[in-house]
Amino acid sequence: MTSDDKRCVVTGLGVICAVGNNVEEAWKSALESVSGIHKTTSVDTVNCYADLAAEVKCDSLDEIDAPEEKDRVSKLCIKAANEALADAGLKNFNDDQRVSVVIGSCVGGVLSIEQYHQHGRDASEIAKMPIASIASQVAETCGAGGIVTNVANACAAGTISIAVACDLIRAGKADVVIAGGADSFASVPYSGFLSLHALDENGCSPFNRCNGITLGEGAGIVIVESYEHAQKRAAKQYCEVLGSGVTSDANHITAPREDGLCLKEAINRSVKNSGIAKTDIGYINAHGTGTGKNDNAEMTAFKAYFGEENPTVSVSSTKVLTGHCLGAAGAIEAVFSIKALTTDTVLPTFPYSEEQSAALKEKVGDMDFVQNKARHKELKSVLSNNVAFGGTNAAIVFSKESGNVSAQSAKDCKIAVTGVGIVSPLGNSKAAYLEAVNADKKPESASVHSTIALDDYKELGIKMAFYRKLDNLGLLQTVSGMRALQDANFKVSDENAMDIGIIVGTSEGGLGATYDFEELIAELGNAGGSAFKFPHTVYNAAGGYLSICSGIKGYGVTITTGPLSGLDSIGYSMNVIHDGQEKAMMATGTDENLPIITEFAQKLGVAANDVVAPYSDSEGFVVGDGSVSIMLEDESYAKSRDAKVYCYALGFGHGRKNVKFGKLVGSDEALDKAIADALADAGITAADVDAVCGFANGCKKIDDIEKGALKRVFGEKLATMPLFEVKERTGEGRAGSAALAAAEAALLLSGELANDNAYFVAADGSVSAKNVESANLKKILVISFAAGGSYSAVVFGK
């Protein structure tokens, strides 16, 4: 039996999609086999071979606070979240730190990118573009003050969000999580899938004609709550959320593995982590997109996994109803799966003619592939799975019973930092970084960027056949990740490929690539999209490329919250290891500085005109970038392979006070909370901290928040405590800089960095700087921030 403190229950549901603007409408459509696929009315279809989509028709999306500040994707998400919260009997949380928001998305605010590009480059569009705005705006709407993040694993993002929600609750980091996914239909994904010839001109027909997908849009929200919290407030409980499994194909950036091997492993993990038998699964809501590659791989995985033990399991895809809603798909399908479970109903894929049914029978054998009409079936547990670009596979189990969930099984293990890979404007290796610090290098201009060179590929053995496919972000991530593996002397093999995972943290992810794609189709029309470029628009492509290059097949998630994503990747990786899901994790922070990114910073008035230093009371900062990858391992695993240990990751904390997305001022006290949380998690006090690796970048508004919080937390001690500020050398590289600050801490604690320039804040607030030796530093606090009012902190120790 799952212990009560590890039980996660669903207490509220919300949905908006082409077949309904709420759960009741969508469920009615599902029972009546109504498809939401029609001729599109919102994108240009000139010269395009397919013109169908499953669009949301809803007049009330703007009935929210400040609709002009939100992209359609946030509006869809807020609508579903409001329904789910009302269903759960919950409302404004007043910045309650125990309430989190985790939202999956694939294309985020892509309509705002289109708007910016085609209608006057208006600065007010910029904050609506990144995926990170979605969860932040949901949190702002309902006052959620806990961890607020977005999962950016393309078409598997919705499922992974619910899995992450449960992980947070089981780790004791949250009581309530608003989890789900959202995406809107737009020209970029439409043109992209057209260019891949992946759209079915007659509408998707999963496991049947298999000629391609039809895009949809919408949002799905599941309120996941700790069982104890739900019991205490006597909440209605739909079902339990049991185990989940996330794996990476390490194969191809868009196509799934034909053998379904890693999808099978994701399903295996979800059932195993649930502590139930294969035979307990009565219904599978398949990804079932309608492409031959997906549907065949999925069927292969189902047969291989369920085989003779559960040969008659019921299976269907609900994408004929909703279209493929990308990052919302897993969340909307979770709502359908939960409704199916709780009403003992299996949903159909339709339409199938008699001949098509006979052909299907040949393919699926004894499997109960549900066709044409929903029907009654007693269900104990259901499984929902999704796969995505980047090679991501995700599966999750919903159940009427509490199962025997395995969680936090390695809670007591120490987590060692065993490798560091650094790509920055200073160079593309740890050695280049150390050399730059020793030479006290500073940015050469107010906008600097990393440049990958042929020598990097040569040194890492990366072949042209591979690197030619990558965009800039993918190159930065692949090189830093391969450097970290090399530094850790970790050889990925068939034996250990599933023991190691990757969490990529990014602030803007594929935003630059999405902008490039928008530029292309604005010129050539939607029929002129590029199949080569389209995969780069998904934020998890960079992590996917690293997985392909390295062969890492375990956990693979991309999170995007803002700069702090580069620290959260470490915090969440610690949780994955403590959960016993992996033995080793690569935690990264990666962001790029393309010309359009500097343009955005300039338009927002945060880009400095000249090189500025941290604490220089400037109006802006140097725009930079970078990718830093850090290897974390269960200490015993690291020792078993004689790994060098830099230091240990001792604790992770977060804090949030809601301000508008794009803003930070007014949220200062949440940084205090993040630091206190991390110290408590590490089992130490402020008195034990010897130094801080901070986030100051020269912009007074940001630096004052750091200064103020450190003053409140450390008091008089602050005057003599060194603050190391990596952005003085690389500029503001968002998630890249947050992870670099963590790498700096590891290098200082290990002694590889014998000394560095440090800042000291005097009692009167004045700041001085001097070079400090690292020999006496035993514990270092690393902090970061995100627009919207989120902060994270990680403690490292010798």
Partner: protein, 79 residues
């Protein structure tokens, strides 16, 4: 014909990230060194269609083997 091949080569370099130093007209495109795949074929088809007015949709794989074979196909199918 040579002009066509140069144009194709420039496309492989600029749009598909291929290093020009290793790309000869007879270099196998789908071999280990260049490593083109199905996504790249879509780009080739699209490029050939819009620049030479020749449709290569559904054309047998051997026609995509090298710049030489693509150019030969275009030459023999030009309107």
């Amino acid at each position: 014909m040579n002009e066509m091949k140069e144009k194709l080569k420039a496309f492989f370099m600029s749009d598909l990230g291929v290093d020009g130093d290793v790309l000869q007209f007879d270099t196998p495109l789908f071999g280990e060194e260049i490593g083109l795949d199905s996504v790249d074929s879509l780009e080739i088809i699209s490029f050939v269609d819009s620049n030479f007015g020749v449709s290569m949709t559904g054309v047998a794989k051997e026609n995509f083997q090298s710049i030489d074979t693509i150019a030969a196909y275009i030459e023999s199918h030009k309107a």
